[in-house]
């Protein structure tokens, strides 16, 4: 079976150690995670992990089954790229002096639809959101000027299927009352 890119969304309770419980499922199967992003979801107390990996669908299905089996995992789903809208954010720190000469800064920022977050005497911080290819392109364009520091977030993704987290949580809570 062919390996393709999948995005797994895991919704968990807010407890110490859950990140480890999630990550050891990948470790045990020697699956390399390309990126992981975690933060509180639209429901207070439920955290959302967005995990990107390249694997066969069969393997991803099994991994998601194992994730959902964890006692403190509320729900886990997986999607191919076509079923999600996703985004990443990148920050670039470059020397202010280099950028200021010759109008380069304006050209690049304008071209990439990036924005300047902060200008200090010594350095400037530029922000760009987009897919990895886009943030990478800006990286490549800024490289000749010297990049002092660079950071890119993991992917965050919204799924296209319309089932909402709150409806899932509601039905789970209904089940619990029974």
């Amino acid at each position: 079976m062919e390996k393709t890119r999948f995005t797994i969304s895991v919704f968990t309770e807010d407890v110490v150690g859950i990140l480890n419980r999630v990550s050891i499922i990948f470790t045990r199967r020697k699956i390399n995670v390309e990126s992981i992003a975690a933060s509180e979801s639209e429901i207070k107390g439920i955290y959302r992990y967005t995990i990107v990996l390249t694997e066969t669908e069969d393997q991803v299905k099994k991994v998601v089954g194992q994730l959902e089996k964890q006692v403190e995992v509320v729900k886990a789903v997986f999607h191919p790229d076509a079923e999600i809208v996703h985004q990443e954010i990148a920050l670039y720190k470059v020397k202010t002096g280099v950028l200021a000469s010759g109008g380069n800064a304006e050209k690049i920022v304008r071209f990439h639809n990036a924005r300047v977050l902060s200008v200090e005497t010594e350095f400037t911080v530029i922000e760009k959101t987009g897919h990895k290819e886009e943030t990478q392109q800006l990286f490549d364009d800024l490289k000749p000027f010297g990049i002092l520091e660079f950071v890119r977030s993991g992917r965050v993704a919204i799924t296209k299927p319309m089932k909402t987290l709150s409806s899932i949580v509601e039905s789970l809570e209904e089940l619990l009352k029974k």
Binding site: V71, L175, L176
Partner: protein, 573 residues
């Protein structure tokens, strides 16, 4: 109002965290725990001292022994096994037993002491990250750092351990939490939104499965421990009897169905019976009940039951399609699923199909079984020992086995009349499991004749638990089938490594002398003519008894499915 206050007063009591631990256990109905004291768990041991009349503590000789004993107890009784250990090495020594319980779905609650919370992460004396270490092998774990968390954490631990697909849970309690105080108010745990223990049964799926069963010409049932865990033995019997379904078991499912039941066609897997393995690749419908298609059961998956449609009755959604693709999956508790399914299937007999199993069984009997049970060779076989035990024991046996050749022989040949009467380390294959597990089983079921069958290798892995038998006068029967080899590894070396016997020869001490030191009655049998009387004597003896039988050094267990072979390639020799 006055009564309410009074009530609250009775219910709520100011106590220390360590007292809350023991009172939580008592509130859960626990009366027996296994453990080993040490620095970080001492406050709990101190609290145990005050409740000795309600809560018996069994001091094993090693923490691994405590976990296996708790497993034996849990498997024999269906209750949650509990063990207690200190931090650091005490906690890490639990890991093998916890991993065994995880893979064999055994409900355990393990409580470990931990260094005081202000010392966490400082490499304090006997500090180890047991939460991190145990995470991959526990169903759930939790670290308690405040006394008031204790009742809730333990209530949740018991709930998670015993519900759904059972498993081990570890609660790590820092020493300051044990010393702290709280208003004790124990409330049983009622559930949580992120954990649905038993999936809702889909009657549509049941109907789909029933129509497959009704249409099948050669249906075949393979069942595992799920039947035992759901206490669905009667429902299972009613199901197979109604449609006349030949049924074979995994070693974890052993004893869920009477050995002599007319539809019991034997053991699956690597050293299982000839007929069920061969006919797996001839059936037109495979009905899996509470089993997980372990590789030791399926052999080569790409050649496993490819001709058949597959129905899988299972409580754990993650098991569906994990190893074998199913046509119809029925999620739920086996008791409920089987009941619903039985109602929808037609009565049937499948006489000719069943006859096929019996024909192959005869072939296996002539080629393998007869010689194993009634050997013509001078050397004794493991099978003939099992045969004598079958002949002379009453029907209230619990057979506990270790791992290796003797395990396969015992599972193949022991006769089971009662449920939960076979206890073995199936998934993890933990040598050293038997002796402590037999102790735990006997303590859980004092009325039963508990017989541990062990090899000379596994016996020495947890031999220290003879001390537990001595101290607590545990009337277990221990049978060591001694071939002075690590027999199963040696068998593989013979068959697949050109008889290069690397590190499988055991130069054993005199077990008789050792066991006598523990005050246990012993006997060694080296000649066949003494075997029968020794078995009788052992079974009739009231207390603990150690029977050592010298068996053929280079005997092999057959049939066998070699690694990578298909179930239909099972060899009789």
């Amino acid at each position: 109002m006055e009564t309410l206050t009074k009530k609250t007063k009775v219910k709520q009591r100011l106590m220390t965290g360590s007292q809350a631990v023991v009172h939580s256990l008592i509130a859960e109905g626990v009366d027996l725990i296994f453990g080993y004291p040490g620095g970080a768990i001492m406050p709990v041991y101190d609290a145990l001292y005050d409740v000795e009349d309600k809560l018996t503590h069994i001091l094993t000789r090693h923490e691994q022994g405590a976990t296996h004993a708790a497993q034996g107890f849990a498997r024999a009784t269906g209750k949650v096994g509990v063990c207690l250990a200190t931090s650091g090495p005490g906690a890490t020594n639990l890991i093998t037993g916890i991993a065994d319980a995880q893979i064999d779905s055994t409900p355990l609650v393990c409580i470990t002491g931990q260094v005081a919370s202000h010392l966490l992460g400082t490499d304090a004396f006997q500090e180890t990250d047991i939460i991190g270490i145990s995470m991959p092998v526990t169903k759930w774990n939790f670290q308690v750092t405040r006394a008031e968390e204790i009742p809730f954490a333990l209530a949740k631990a018991f709930y998670i351990a015993r519900t759904g697909r059972p498993g081990p849970v570890l609660i790590d309690i820092t020493k300051d939490a044990q010393f702290g105080t709280l208003d004790f108010d124990y409330q049983p745990f009622k559930g949580m939104r992120s954990y649905v223990p038993t999936p809702q049964l889909s009657l549509t799926k049941v109907a789909e499965a029933a129509s497959l069963i009704n249409a099948a010409k050669k249906p075949f049932v393979v069942f595992g421990q799920g039947v035992l865990l759901a206490e669905a033995e009667n429902e299972f019997k009613a199901f197979i009897e109604k449609a006349g379904l030949p049924s074979a078991w995994t070693i974890m499912g052993l004893s869920a169905l009477d050995s002599d039941h007319y539809l019991n066609v034997g053991m699956l897997g690597m050293h299982g019976n000839y007929a069920p393995n061969k006919l797996t690749n001839e059936c037109d419908l495979l009905i899996a009940v509470g089993m997980r298609f372990d590789d030791r059961v399926t052999g080569d998956l790409s050649r496993y039951a490819k001709q058949a449609k597959v129905i899988h009755l299972e409580i754990d959604p993650a098991e569906i399609d994990k190893n074998v693709k199913t046509d119809v999956a029925i999620l739920g508790n086996a008791k409920e699923s089987l009941k619903a399914l039985t109602e929808m299937i037609n009565e049937n007999e499948h006489k000719n199909w069943l006859e096929k199993f019996r024909d192959l069984e005869k072939e296996e009997f002539n080629e393998v079984i007869d010689e194993e049970l009634n050997p013509t060779s001078e050397l004794m076989t493991m099978g003939e020992v099992m045969n004598k035990i079958n002949l002379h024991s009453n029907q209230n046996n619990i057979i506990v086995t270790d791992v290796g050749q003797h395990q396969m022989i015992a599972c193949r040949y022991a006769k089971f009349k009662q449920t939960r009467s076979s206890i073995t380390s199936g998934g993890l294959g933990t040598m050293g499991f038997c002796l402590p597990a037999a102790i735990g089983a006997k303590m859980g079921r004092p009325d039963a004749q508990v017989i541990g069958i062990i090899g000379d290798g596994g016996f020495q892995m947890t031999i220290q638990e003879l001390g537990t038998i001595f101290q607590f006068k545990t009337a277990v029967k221990i049978v060591v089938l001694n071939n002075e080899f690590l027999g199963m590894v040696r068998q593989w070396q013979e068959l697949f490594f050109e008889k290069r016997y690397a590190a499988t020869t055991m130069v054993n001490p005199d077990f008789q002398t050792i066991v006598k030191g523990y005050g246990i009655k012993t006997k060694k049998v080296e000649k066949r003519e003494n075997l029968e009387d020794a078995v009788k004597e052992m079974l009739a003896h009231e207390g603990s008894y150690f029977l050592e039988v010298m068996v053929g050094k280079e005997n092999n267990v057959f049939p066998m499915i070699a690694t990578g072979a298909s179930v239909s390639e099972i060899r009789l020799k």
